[in-house]
């Protein structure tokens, strides 16, 4: 009975086009943000902040980026790892070359650089479609990782090819990277950045650009005939998607692991982000968050649950089980709901709207 929109009338098109048109949702999201800003840092321990919330936020951003390209524009990409590497290495070069540059500016510039690379590797999409394009993006993946691994310039001639984030302040005296950075700083910084970028993504997808992407995704020929230029739509999707992914890569290297080598952005990373998008829901910003949460949490749960309920299991068994459960869950979700967690969430909401009446 609580989740009812009856009686809420929209008096303008503007309010009807809001992201959360229903009041309950508005209250819900405000509460969620409040908990995220105040509750989580107060309640969650260092372990939860460092190894669950931080990677969750970084991955959410990467998943949003890929979702813009694959979920909204319909261009399947397996080059996510490569674009994350771009962000990480661009940010490293920038911040070591210009130490006085604020770290936020560094991340944004790294994103812009990644966007340029993304556009370049997006060019084949004008001629190649579907799985052929997916395989073609692997060329970007392998080439980029090879390049960052091969040329010492990217790592400032470190003998091992590993880059390590230098200490940088986000506010005077408050370090975001380096040994003095606290988990809470990292978390709050990420939370703010990811929230803003997610809002940007949402705005883009509900505006003209997003509609031209979806038109290309649903039927590229028809899109062309109503005046959408595939060149512009596809390349803009590649650019903006790589911008998001690039920032996620930079955050991964700087805020999460602190040091990184090019091999951390191997093809596995691309698949990992793709799975988040698939499980969360193609074409849904909320789904990107849900998918990231699912993939970050599942292995941790599988590692903890058997012990918690008193089941003795070798790590080997747990790890094999993890693979099997993960695979089975993907299949299960596809059969039950091909549109991912986001759709399940929506169905749940619709149910709630009618509750307690069945129809």
């Amino acid at each position: 009975m609580l989740y009812r929109e009856a009686g809420q009338f929209k008096t303008s098109y503007g309010s009807d086009q809001a992201i959360f048109p229903i009041r309950q949702d508005q209250i819900g999201i405000a509460l969620l943000l409040l908990v995220a800003v105040l509750g989580v840092p107060a309640l969650a321990g260092e372990y939860w902040l460092e190894t669950i919330f931080v990677p969750f936020l970084v991955f959410s951003l990467a998943a949003i980026g890929l979702n813009l390209l694959t979920g909204y524009c319909g261009q399947l990409s397996l080059g996510t790892g490569g674009f994350m590497a771009c962000g990480a290495f661009f940010a490293y070069k920038l911040t070591t070359a210009f130490p006085e540059l604020h770290v936020l500016v560094v991340f944004l510039l790294a994103g812009v650089g990644s966007a340029a690379v993304g556009v370049f590797f997006g060019i084949p999409s004008l001629r190649i479609k579907g799985f052929y394009l997916a395989v073609a993006t692997l060329a970007a993946q392998f080439f980029l990782v090879w390049m960052f691994n091969k040329f010492d310039w990217w790592t400032n001639y470190s003998p091992s090819g590993v880059i390590s984030a230098p200490p940088r302040e986000v506010l005077p005296g408050i370090f975001l990277t380096g040994t003095e950075a606290t988990p809470i700083t990292k978390y709050l910084f990420l939370l703010g950045l990811v929230a803003v970028l997610a809002l940007v993504a949402k705005n883009l997808t509900r505006g003209a650009i997003g509609r031209s992407w979806m038109a290309i995704r649903d039927m590229d020929i028809a899109a062309e005939i109503i005046g959408i230029r595939p060149l512009w739509a596809k390349l803009s999707a590649f650019a903006i998607s790589s911008f998001f992914i690039g920032i996620a890569g930079a955050l991964w290297a700087f805020v999460y692991t602190g040091s990184v080598e090019a091999l951390a952005f191997q093809i596995d990373r691309s698949f990992q982000v793709l799975f988040m998008v698939i499980i969360g829901g193609l074409g849904s910003i909320l789904g990107s968050f849900l998918g990231a949460a699912f993939i970050v949490l599942l292995p941790i749960l599988l590692n903890n649950v058997p012990a918690a309920i008193g089941l003795q299991m070798s790590v080997e068994m747990v790890s094999h089980l993890e693979f099997m459960i993960f695979g089975a869950l993907i299949i299960f979700f596809l059969i039950v709901e091909p549109h991912g967690l986001a759709r399940l969430w929506q169905i749940g909401k619709e149910k709630l709207r009618l509750w307690p009446f069945p129809y």
Partner: protein, 436 residues
């Protein structure tokens, strides 16, 4: 509809289940986190390593009742050799036990890199035994990282010494090729080998192999059919090792001139290559076989049904390496207890124990580990401890040492460590400790 409900229920159950925490270890125990990889591409190497750790700590508890009465407690965490998993494991386990994690053995160069800053901030010693950053031997910049007994740079030096000796004392005009895993790990020896090539007058060429290393045909055609070097060194890992041996045999390269680093010299690296591997050599930082007296105790442990390892792994190269690794730790613990009292030690105290670690031949003998390791002595500035390595050879069925422990020429290596560490310190804004 039913299925949808099930899906909700499943997700819900997972979320609820996940919030429950694992029970903490008891108060009088010294907790050791074990970052293992029993699955994934490197499982063949990870399994004997993990088994060795388990058996040694079990032995210490069962035979000696712990270290000075403090029992060891440990928990395995599967990393799949994955950097972010490694970080997660480290964070999950670091607060466990009475005093938190007292040491972390990442067993992956990538995880080591990822943990250096975190562990330094948390005051948990990182023991990267024969892997990780070579320049971390400079304890002034890396107070919490220990590289005993020997680093990759020193390993490269030992290889060159060995080749030099085999060539009758001079490498002038000889050709040496390096086949390396194209990653942070594989690149470690290049600078050292380039320096030595200049000093000793041999021609040096490096051949990268892309991860995971199943593809080496082109590399070995270049080596075996074009360059035809006098020696081939290898920094390989996992499937790359056995593939390299097979491809080397396929181009007819002589195995006794092919020397791998200690991560290219376990059973799992040669067995898949079959007969082709006969005669292949590698370095090792520990002794091989089950001749040391400690194996009597281990056999007894297993006979009593208290062994934790798969018996077929006992005495394998990586099992023995894990024994020595655990021994380093228990000795550091003992050293720390000598100063701070016979109770569980904190990471900071263990760090002191490592810096004052002095494993003499007497201690090795009395621990029943004769032949398994060479003496090491660490200090505030020197975290490598002057260890050494042997050359071993595969005879088709087992590894056998063919040299004594060879010491690297550290006089030349030490300045390189310090220069590299200084660059790191500058980039990170670290002021090196004063160790004098």
């Amino acid at each position: 509809m039913q299925l949808r409900k099930l899906a909700f229920a499943a997700v819900g159950a997972l979320v609820i289940g996940g919030t429950a925490a694992t029970p903490p270890a008891s108060a009088a125990e010294q907790f050791v986190p074990l970052l293992v990889y029993r699955t994934g591409p490197y499982a063949p190497n990870g399994i004997p390593l993990a088994d060795g750790f388990n058996d040694f700590m079990q032995l210490v508890n069962e035979r000696d009742g712990g270290v000075n009465g403090v029992k060891l407690a440990w928990e395995e965490c599967e990393t799949q050799y994955n950097n972010d998993r490694g970080v997660e494991c480290y964070e999950r386990l670091k607060a466990q036990g009475a005093t938190g994690s007292s040491v972390v053995n990442p067993y992956s160069t990538g995880i080591t890199y990822a943990l250096i800053e975190r562990a330094t901030a948390d005051k948990v010693p990182v023991l990267s035994m024969g892997y990780g950053r070579a320049d971390a031997s400079d304890g002034r910049v890396f107070p919490y990282v220990f590289t005993l007994p020997i680093t990759y740079w020193a390993g490269a030096d030992v290889m060159v010494q060995y080749a030099n000796e085999k060539e009758g004392g001079s490498l002038k005009g000889k050709k040496i090729a390096l086949v390396y895993h194209d990653s942070a790990y594989g690149k470690e020896p290049i600078a050292t080998l380039e320096r030595l090539a200049e000093e000793e007058g041999f021609q040096f060429q490096a051949f990268p192999v892309a991860h995971p290393g199943l593809e080496q045909k082109a590399t070995w055609l270049q080596i075996g059919r074009q360059l035809r070097p006098d020696w081939v060194f290898m920094w390989g890992w996992g499937v790359m090792n056995s593939t390299a041996i097979k491809e080397a045999a396929a181009v007819g390269y002589p195995m006794d001139r092919f020397v791998g680093i200690w991560w290219s010299g376990a059973e799992a690296d040669v067995v898949p290559a079959g007969d082709a591997a006969k005669g292949y050599k590698s370095l090792n930082i520990t002794g091989v076989g089950t001749n040391a007296p400690i194996f009597e105790d281990i056999k007894k442990l297993h006979a009593d049904g208290k062994g934790l390892a798969d018996p077929k792994n006992i005495g394998t190269v990586l099992y023995n390496r894990a024994l020595v690794n655990s021994f380093y730790f228990t000795e550091a613990l003992r050293t720390a207890q000598g100063k701070f009292g016979e109770k569980p030690m904190s990471g900071e105290q263990i760090q002191w124990g490592f810096e004052n670690l002095d494993i003499t031949q007497d201690k090795i003998d009395s621990a029943g580990m004769t032949g398994l390791l060479s003496p090491v002595k660490l200090s505030c500035a020197d975290h490598e401890g002057g260890g050494s390595a042997v050359v071993q050879q595969w005879d088709g069925a087992k590894w056998a040492a063919i040299t004594d422990f060879i010491s690297p020429r550290r006089a030349a290596l030490r300045p390189a460590y310090e220069a590299s560490a200084a660059q790191y310190a500058k980039e990170k804004g670290i002021t090196p400790r004063d160790c004098s």
